[in-house]
């Protein structure tokens, strides 16, 4: 990639980080954090975005960032108090900044009117100081450097007679700041022909000499058509640290001396003191020393490492420091990581096969082969974990989009909301993160739009008018659990049930538990919004959320307490590549049931199993009836149902807590298996989620628990309810 394009990519990546920093800083300030470190971090974030944007010519972004920065600078210097009103504006400004960054990255436009409006609001707070500074900024580039590079030909002609006489007397401060007279004189010599005269008359005798004092002064006669501005420009950085006079050279003066000193003064030109010739020599040396190529082209990227390698002298001395500074991250194509994960998957399978062979060969557990294999197994497991960790990312990237969403939804619905996020550092597979954004967005919308009450209503109920939505993530038993909890009114069960009846989703006489009623909102076609708001009424309901979570191998459930709020809990696998499974057999087939779905295993008795007609059976478990799924029959491995005593039952729980019992022939054991997509390699099979390869080389199918539970419910639920009722 073109190095500039690469840096630009880095810039946008960094912008995202800075924007996140900005937002969390502003939110912290809103929460009462007025520490200077927080304010500084917020300022730096905007400052940094502006700095990079300028380099890439993103003018709209620079302009807005500048206005924002100016306001923040006043807050930072305590000229402006971070009132709640100001913070609200700044949070919206952060949103605009985000949009501008995205527009810069992805193309597209932003709502100019909105940008202008927010900028005007910021200016109103800061007193509109930004404009003045903007002018200053714009001018700086040329002021500092232009004259040095191309100013000479373009400059207006020098006064009649040509040239300048420059009187230059450095103070000690000039040297203390590492400025060098010889370099300044060299700069001056670039403007035309110079004749340098040293005045060392102030130099004291050695005993009185302060090694850090300044005793020398110079008079430089410059011929050529340089402007006074260009001459003063040379001394810009030492302004105030020296005495400087720039006077037009008298016409007579220059020609008179010009034959004595045509270009740089030779050793004889300085006169009285050897120091003069030393300076002159230093000057010559400095000029002779080839300055680094001043016009690098961005295209010759391959040349850059070469030129760095060609100059190893200094580099080697400083190598350790440079190496310690190496970038802590690298960017790798996802394809490469996935290929690695695939290979590790193969490795796991191979190792399992090897283990099986060793067992079959009848080698003792203590034999060196078996022990070596144990080590290999452990190593394989570690490699696998490490490789998976490469794909793991903190959920922060998704979580940090939510505060903005919450603000937008809140303002569109007239609600007041505080979004609290927790556990942003929790890591999960990148694919899971990417596919989490949509369902999470929808759930936050729902929590605010449907969950929280309007401020007036909350007041009536004796609650804080500002509602709280809590978004949290944590690792629990090998899965990531994400919760969206609101402190709103909770699910209105009567209304939910009525709607479900009206829509024909349930029978009017159905006796549902509270939990079952709550779960009705996940049913396709269910929507409680009595008016279609443009927030939640986008044609997707909780059923879509549920489906997308399921597709990730996850489950979602809801708990709700009237008047106190609702909590949606999602549990997702950390990776989509491996699975802890229970290996079972059914008919002549070996199958794998995801371990996370299994609640318990039991030995069924015929007396507990009841036929419902049509081949459907239920099993009574501690007093409640659960549909019984004969896996062999369901998947077509046999036609005759298995006698309960002849098999083993797995109580499984699908999403939303729906349960079923799977009847299989036998349990072979627990094992971690590598998931191979059946769809990608064969085709979709109902009741089967994926496939894997076992240690003996056979393919085993992984059961689609949710599909099996759903199928059992679809067939038997109505009858079940009658039986229970």
């Amino acid at each position: 990639m073109d190095p500039m394009a690469e840096i630009k990519a880095t810039f946008f990546q960094e912008c995202e980080e800075q924007l996140a920093e900005l937002e969390s800083g502003l939110l912290a300030m809103e929460g009462g954090d007025d520490g200077s470190e927080t304010v500084n971090a917020v300022f730096r974030a905007v400052h940094s975005v502006k700095g990079g944007a300028g380099a890439f010519g993103l003018d709209d972004l620079v302009r807005f960032a500048h206005v924002f920065e100016t306001t923040l600078d006043q807050v930072r210097s305590e000229k402006l108090a971070p009132t709640p009103e100001l913070l609200k504006v700044m949070l919206r400004a952060a949103d605009v900044l985000t949009d501008l960054v995205r527009a810069g990255r992805d193309g597209g436009t932003v709502d100019e009117a909105r940008t202008e409006a927010i900028a005007a609001e910021l200016n109103a707070f800061s007193g509109g100081e930004a404009d003045a500074v903007a002018d200053d900024d714009d001018g700086m580039g040329e002021l500092d450097f232009q004259p040095l590079a191309v100013g000479v030909p373009a400059a207006p002609p020098a006064p009649e007679g040509g040239g300048w006489t420059v009187l230059f007397k450095p103070r000690a401060d000039l040297y203390a700041k590492a400025n060098e007279t010889v370099l300044l004189l060299r700069e001056l010599s670039r403007l035309g022909q110079v004749e340098v005269e040293l005045d060392a008359s102030a130099l004291p005798l050695l005993p009185h000499l302060d090694p850090e004092g300044s005793y020398l002064s110079w008079t430089v006669r410059l011929t050529g058509d340089a402007t006074e501005g260009a001459v003063r420009e040379v001394f810009e950085w030492v302004d105030g640290d020296c005495e400087l006079q720039v006077q037009p050279a008298s016409g007579a003066d220059v020609p008179e001396k010009s034959d004595a000193a045509t270009a740089l003064p030779g050793p004889e030109a300085g006169g009285e003191l050897d120091i003069a010739s030393l300076i002159a020599k230093a000057q010559e040396a400095a000029v002779a020393d080839p300055p680094p190529a001043a016009e690098p082209t961005t295209a010759d990227a391959p040349g850059a490492p070469a030129s760095a390698a060609a100059t190893p002298a200094k580099a080697s001395a400083n190598a350790p420091a440079a190496a310690a500074q190496a970038a802590p991250t690298i960017r790798v194509d996802l394809d490469r990581v996935d290929r690695l994960i695939d290979l590790v998957g193969e490795l796991v399978i191979n190792q399992a096969m090897l283990a099986q062979r060793v067992t079959e060969a009848g080698l003792a557990r203590a034999s060196s082969v078996a022990m070596g294999l144990d080590e290999l197994e452990q190593l394989t497991r570690e490699i696998q974990d490490s490789v998976m960790a490469i794909r793991a990312q903190p959920v922060k990237s998704v979580f940090q989009r939510m505060p903005r969403l919450a603000r937008e939804v809140a303002s569109a619905t007239g609600k007041q909301v505080r979004l609290i996020t927790d556990g942003e550092g929790t890591e999960v597979d990148k694919t899971v993160i990417e596919r989490l954004a949509d369902p999470l967005t929808h759930m936050i919308r729902n929590a605010i739009d449907h969950g929280l009450e309007k401020p007036e209503k909350r007041k009536e109920a004796g609650k804080d008018p500002e509602g709280v939505v809590r978004l949290s993530a944590l690792h629990r038993s090998g899965r990531i659990v994400i919760e969206v909890a609101d402190d709103g009114a909770g699910i209105n069960r009567e209304r939910v049930k009525q709607i479900a009846i009206d829509k024909g989703l349930i029978a009017p006489e159905a006796a549902l538990t509270d939990e079952e009623i709550d779960n009705l909102i996940f049913m396709p076609g269910f929507s409680t919004a009595s008016e279609i708001s443009d927030i939640s009424g986008r044609g997707v309901g909780m059923d879509v959320v549920k489906r997308s979570i399921q597709e990730l191998g996850g489950r979602i459930s809801i708990t709700s307490r009237p008047g106190l709020g609702s909590t949606f809990t999602m549990s997702l696998p950390l990776t989509l590549a491996v699975l802890d499974g229970m290996v079972v057999s059914s008919g002549d087939q070996t199958l794998v049931a995801p371990l996370t779905a299994i609640v318990e295993t039991l030995q069924p008795r015929s007396s507990e199993v009841h036929g419902l007609g049509g081949g459907a059976r239920v099993i009574s478990i501690r007093g409640s009836y659960v549909p019984l799924v004969d896996v062999g029959v369901s998947l077509g491995y046999r036609t005759e149902p298995l006698e309960p005593e002849a098999g083993v039952a797995l109580l499984i729980e699908g999403e939303g807590g729906a349960r079923a019992v799977l009847l299989v022939d036998a349990i072979q054991g627990q094992r971690q298996v590598v998931i191979k997509s059946l769809e990608a390699n064969y085709r979709r099979v109902p009741g089967i989620a994926a496939a894997t390869i076992l240690g003996d080389g056979r393919v085993a199918l992984i059961l689609d628990i949710d599909a099996l539970v759903a199928a059992s419910r679809a067939n038997e639920a109505p009858r079940l309810m009658q039986a229970a009722g």
């Binding site: 810039f11 500084n40 500092d144 450097f145 810009e236 680094p292 200094k314």
Partner: protein, 121 residues
Amino acid sequence: MSLTILTVDDSRTMRDMLRLALVQAGYTVLQAEDGQHGLEVLDDATPDVIVTDINMPRLDGYGFIEGVRADDRHRTVPILVLTTESSPEKKQRARDAGATGWIVKPFNPEKLVDAIRRVAA
């Protein structure tokens, strides 16, 4: 002989841009992420020129420059301040801390190299 430049900036973008421009110009580049880190790098490195940002976490540019000047080994190294902040008082503050000169962002490679050339022998 190639000069070694230490760049101190908390922005990865800016560090990358500086490195690209400087390496292409034939310099050797050392990097630090903030003032504190810059002082740590200077513990075992002696760059010929330092280019530093002002607004940085932990230790800002002013503090960093003062730290460098207080270190006998580095008191004479030229320090260029790299900043978008162009207000005179900020420049003055940087100079008071001991900065040799300044480069205003956004910079182009020529500007940068030119500024370094002005302070480096």
